[in-house]
């Protein structure tokens, strides 16, 4: 029996989820299939690939903002707008992480890109600049 790759499972699952209304039974059957093919260990990979496929097709992006303290709503909206402009996507899924080590400023991650305005980064740049 040929092993099927996680990416293909994810694609199939995405297509099914678009076509059906009864997502629960599809998922249950999907897991049963994985068990019968002895590939349940792929589940994490499939979830990751599924996320990517879903984001691509729904024209949205997962973003992450790291700050030393909690952000207010307005700032979050500003960041979402910025990402939308840079990436030409409709929807931005923003998660917030608090990291005191940054001292100040913020770090935005989406896709392969990282925008770093933190004090920590500036200090390390300054350190490299001074000889």
């Amino acid at each position: 029996m040929k092993k099927i790759k996680a990416k293909i499972y994810a694609q199939v699952l995405y297509q099914l989820s678009c076509e059906t209304d009864d997502l629960d039974s599809v998922l249950a059957n999907f897991v049963k299939l994985l068990v019968s093919r002895n590939q349940l260990s792929l589940i994490n990979e499939i979830i990751n690939d599924f996320k990517q496929i879903y984001n691509k097709n729904e024209n949205q992006v997962d973003a992450q903002v790291v700050t030393p303290f909690a952000l207010d709503k307005n700032t979050k909206h500003l960041i979402e707008d910025l990402i939308r402009q840079m990436n030409t996507v409709k929807k931005v899924e923003l998660t917030e992480i608090i990291d005191k080590e940054l001292i100040g400023g913020l770090v935005v991650n989406f896709d392969d890109t990282r925008i770093d305005t933190s004090i920590k980064k500036q200090l390390s740049l300054l350190k490299n600049n001074i000889k």
Partner: protein, 506 residues
């Protein structure tokens, strides 16, 4: 005290000048790490052989660009890198600092100083991989490289811009030949680069000490990737050395580069390829192993006048296993280079050092570069040597040989004796011409074979003291005129009169 305030002032100024800015980077994540190879997700706009930087500051090079991951080698210590670390692109193809400051230094393949003589500051960087000069920019080889080794300069001459392979088993004197050649370049307007690939550091330190002792370090750069360095550094070492050498070639200078040795380079590349899961081929080497060496050795060139007229002469070294020249790597490199110097263990143990096999060694382009005087004497020499080899085989069977054959054998024995040369004792080309001329004219036939070596050594001293005009005239003339020939004959005969072992015999 003034120093202190000065430092503080300059620091203040640097801090004031510093402009803070938002940094936009392309980042990826390490998926898998081990054996000096990292598999990284993301980095979708990474270029082939682009430098990438890991969280702990180590530099890597992207080699495999796949659909959703890249395979990279790590140049340095990979033990500090963990799965999940972020990696960022630098937007630069792998490059190293080059410049005049590198002369006389020992550096690693990334251009960092290894000799403890302080940081090397250069302004210019060159990519380590570069397309070789094209046909339009090249000219034919027309100037000699004086190796100072009699057997090579006469029979297998090397020209500037040539690639001459030195091949042989372990412990046959391959490195010794290359080292002697570098030492002999003193005053010959040549920059040298010695690239040690996977060599024992004790051996390299010995070589560097010798360079320093003989003054060769004044025009030499040593690029060192030791046996304990990761395969990635061994893999890029010859390309780094070549980039350092090309800087001088592009300036119109003549450069000699020694790759010691390319069999270890091939092994390092095989290791990387297998870890990157590229399919193995013959002897488990990857499919592009030929291209690995051909693209390196094609960068040796003699440029034409319009392009500065510089040259890059390469002496790659290959180590064979028990004399097997038909293995994969030796045959590849033999076919790429413009000739090979074949060293044999048997000859080495017979005491013929350098242990050069004159039958299998060739130089395909070098004879065009020989000076005229050498060309004249070398023709006769080659003939004597070839005839001797033919006769020596059946001369063992009987002693009843005619006069001509005997004479031929005696001459051959002297030729073989003259070809012997101790390590670190290079001979100037003018002296070589004189001794070979004397040999060809039969002026040495009355000297006993076991005294030839002694005769030769003392004769060179005699030439330095008594016949400096003769050496000078050969150097300026570059050819053997009637007058010079007569002077050589006279000088040799004059010298022979002072020898007691000749007088006693009579």
């Amino acid at each position: 005290m003034a120093d202190k305030t000065h430092i503080i002032e300059s620091l203040k100024k640097q801090i004031e000048d510093f402009k803070s800015q938002a940094v936009i980077e392309k980042v990826g994540k390490v998926l898998e790490i081990g054996d000096g190879i990292a598999r990284i997700s993301g980095l979708s706009d990474c270029m082939a052989s682009e430098m990438i930087q890991f969280e702990n500051g180590e530099i890597g090079v992207a080699l495999n660009l796949e659909e959703d991951s890249i395979g990279a080698i790590i140049l340095g210590d990979y033990l500090g890198i963990k799965e999940g670390d972020t990696v960022k692109t630098t937007g630069q193809i792998l490059q190293i600092p080059v410049g005049d400051n590198l002369v006389g230094r020992v550096v690693d393949p990334l251009g960092n100083a290894l000799d403890g003589k302080g940081e090397i500051s250069t302004k210019q960087f060159l990519p380590i991989e570069k397309i070789a000069p094209g046909v339009i920019t090249r000219s034919s080889v027309n100037q000699p490289v004086q190796t100072g080794i009699k057997a090579i300069d006469s029979v297998i001459p090397i020209g500037r811009g040539q690639r001459e392979l030195i091949i042989g088993d372990r412990q046959t004197g391959k490195t010794a030949l290359a080292i002697d050649t570098i030492i002999n370049q003193k005053g010959l307007n040549m920059k040298c680069v010695y690239v040690a690939i996977g060599q024992k550091e004790s051996k390299v330190s010995k070589i560097i000490a010798k360079f320093e002792e003989t003054g060769a370090m004044e025009y030499t750069t040593v690029v060192l990737a030791g046996a304990s360095d990761p395969a990635s550094l061994n893999y890029i070492a010859p390309y780094s050395g070549c980039a350092i050498a090309e800087y001088f070639m592009d300036k119109g200078e003549d450069v000699l580069i020694v790759y010691d040795d390319l069999s270890k380079h091939a092994v390092a590349y095989r290791e990387i390829s297998l870890l990157l899961r590229r399919p193995p081929g013959r002897e488990a080497y990857p499919g592009d192993i030929f291209y690995l060496h051909s693209r390196l050795l094609e960068r040796s060139a003699k440029l034409n006048k319009e392009n500065g007229g510089g040259s890059l002469t390469a002496l790659p070294i290959i180590e064979t296993q028990s004399g097997d020249v038909s293995a994969y790597i030796p045959t590849n490199v033999i076919s790429i280079t413009d000739g090979q110097i074949y060293l044999e263990a048997d000859l080495f143990y017979q005491g013929i050092r350098p242990a050069l096999n004159a039958g299998l060694s060739v130089s395909r382009v070098g004879s065009a570069a020989q000076i005229k005087a050498m060309k004249k004497v070398a023709g006769k020499l080659k003939l004597d040597l070839a005839q001797y080899r033919e006769l020596a085989a059946f001369a063992q069977f009987g002693s009843d040989l005619d006069e001509g054959t005997k004479k031929q054998l005696e001459r051959g024995k002297r030729v073989v004796e003259i070809m012997k040369q101790d390590q670190y004792k290079t001979v100037e080309v003018t002296k070589q011409v004189i001794i070979f001329y004397a040999l060809g004219q039969g002026l040495l036939d009355d000297i006993p074979v076991d005294k030839i070596k002694e005769f030769e050594d003392k004769f060179y001293e005699f030439l330095d003291v008594q016949a400096s005009d003769l050496l000078e005239s050969i150097k300026t003339e570059g050819d053997l005129t009637k007058k010079i020939e007569e002077t050589i004959t006279k000088t040799v005969n004059d010298y022979k009169e002072t020898l007691d072992y000749l007088i006693v015999k009579e």
